[in-house]
Amino acid sequence: MEQLNTTNALSIDGEGNKGVLETIQYIVVRLGDEQYGIDIRYIDNIVRMQRMTRVPKVPDYLKGVINLRGEVLPVISLRLKMGLEADEYTRTTRIIILKLEQEGNVGIIVDEVKEVVTLSEDQIEKLTYDSKDGKVNYINAVGKHDGELISLLDLNSITLEENAQ
């Protein structure tokens, strides 16, 4: 978590915005009734739900693989991963393609993509890790925007943890 924020600060400093509060752009997605934010710099692409090919003998949150312009990408159900009910694919369901340094590109399924918000540092409240509830693991901060709360996803824990299992 620490590391993530340092890199943010660095990259923005590099663009010459020194002195101003650092801001990060998040894409706000909906899962059920909750809103989650994904750091925009990790997002490669957002695609509609498409036909997936199931892969046998993998954890159930790994929904399968899709063909994205000739590349075969694994797709994770964020709902199953976070212990929510299984996805119900609707017209608003999207796959967000994340670009990760180690694992390459990975898709995650969300119920809806809502908007892009820009949060400055003082609008972000970091969460300390204090609960045994598995869900907290995947969120590293909460952002406040227009009176609403947005849980900011820790992409590293969402994706890295898979390999431990």
Binding site: T53, V55, P56, V65, E71, V72
Partner: protein
Amino acid sequence: MDVSQYLEIFLDETKEHLQSLNTQILELEADPENMDTINEIFRAAHSLKGMAGTMGYKRMQNLTHDMENVFSEVRNGNIKVQPEMIDVLFRCLDALDEYTNNIQESADEGTNDNEPLIKQLNDILNGTSKAEAKAEAPKEQAAAQSSEESEEKWHDIALEDSQIRVIIEAGKQKKNVYGINVVVQDTCLLKAARAFLVFKAVEEKGEIIVSNPSAQDVEDEKFDKDFTLIVISDATLDEVIKAAENVSEIAKVTGAPLVLEKTKNYHPIEEREEADSKQETGVNPAPSTEDKSGKAAKTEKKQTPSKPVVNRTVRVDIEKLDVLMNLVSELIIAKNSLVSATDQEQSGGNGINEHIEYLESVTTSLHESVMKVRMVPIESVVNKFPRMIRDLSKKLDKKMELYMTGEETELDRTVVDEIGDPLMHLLRNSADHGLESAEVRAQRGKPAVGSIFLDAYQDGNNVVIEVRDDGNGIDTEAVKNKAIERGVITPEQAASMAEKDIINLLFLPSFSTAKQVTDVSGRGVGLDVVRSKIESLSGEVEVKSKLGEGSTWTIRLPLTLAIIQTLMVVVGGEKYAISLGSIQTIEDVALSEVKLVQNKEVIHLRGTVIPLIRLSELLDVESTRSKEDNLIVVIVKKGDKLAGLVVDDMIGQQEIVIKSLGKYIKQCKFISGATILGDGEVALILDANALL
């Protein structure tokens, strides 16, 4: 100059030159008088030196420089090729190889100066003509020369007043003034270039105030074979001389402190000052010198570029690229005619099928050509083996000869890169364990020189590489005993094992029958690594052996890893691809033919009992076939093992492009990858080998 952009080319070419040197020196060893070979070697060494110099790899340059000197003497007939010399040269090549590897990893050549090697090279040179000895051991010469007045050519230079003033001034500033004489080698082709390098090298140490002939003349090559400099420097005389000597093809550098009074038209100007009263330390450098050293430091910095990413490259025959280009243009035409055909279609025309067929034929050819671009001859890998066998022959004290055929056989670049180590293991194995000692060979009536064969050829969609020797063959009894001793098998098992199975024990990890462990082979890490490597390349390895007559190791590799022929099958509504290479037959089996053995389903097919694997169960899907229907069984094989895969339906044979599932999905052992079907759907590839 920033040279990092040339690093890839440099590495590629260096490797090529080293390989060529290896081959040529081997030839030279066999035929020491062959002038063509010697010339070839000289050229390769020369290019290597030049390239290393350009890239700023000084150590590499020095070593190649000395090697080149030796070759040059050999070429001039001053040195005869001797076995010791060949050994030294091979060690030099190894050292160069090490530099190259260092450069590849870190863009830096490392810090090993390889002085013993350079010394040996110089010893070879010194062992011959005296003139050469002088050239190669100039340090003592320089000291000796400086005492001889007649050699001090710098005192013959007619100095101008202004120059004398500068010298006197330098003396005041307690700087050193030296006269330096540089003699270029007789064989030097680009005297001016060498002289220029000397100028540069010396200027790094100090300031050149006078040159005779003038710098312009020297640059225009208007000098015989030596030139004289007067240098003002903070450095010691030795440092300046050394700087000049470091330039290649310089035969001799002499120097001494300049004594102003001895110069030709010396006349006292103003206050006569002893120009040669000098102090070695504690001087403020003149601004000009400072500038220059500053510059020098900068260039040095640039010469060690930051760590580059060296990509793997494939050299492509221009013809292959032309074919590709043509196909792409055809593709564009095909697309255009399709577009116009659809327009016609709307207005009642026809012919779209015709165009689709055309498009299909173009894409097929395009596909083939792209695959060809990826193919490289295995030559690049097997070329290093003759040298290795030669070294082994010396090390093991066995006479042996390597015969190679089919070096031109082409394989996918990725496969070629990986195949070197396994082949090396097998060859070493043959040399160490396979071939008998000279006495045993004599007893058996075999020729004294053992033969190892490496044959490569294409066989259908596969490339076969055979390593064969006329040695002892595999002693199955010894293998059996060893296996029992190691607890791999029980004596009872051993008694019932077929010869072939016993030989296969060799491929188990940590299995070595060498009675004593040598550094050539016998650490028990060999054959299992060979097999796993080859299997990771979707290939297979087999041994045939006859005790007392020799053994043959056969490696079978797919032509390419990127595209394979598969059978598309359907299991529970999902499509899977099975490589045709592992499929033996497809059978229609009635339910009544399925028997149970130890509660497992088997079928009895033409005398063989084959276990059945119900893919629907394995893949966790519901079979869509009714339970009463006959079974569609795909019989797959791996080595001698067979298994029957029960599928729901078959789509047919299809050529597919293999795509990786990515690093993310690791759990799935029997899925070796995925492919994208014509309609954009992803189908998984079943790895039949992992199922058996």
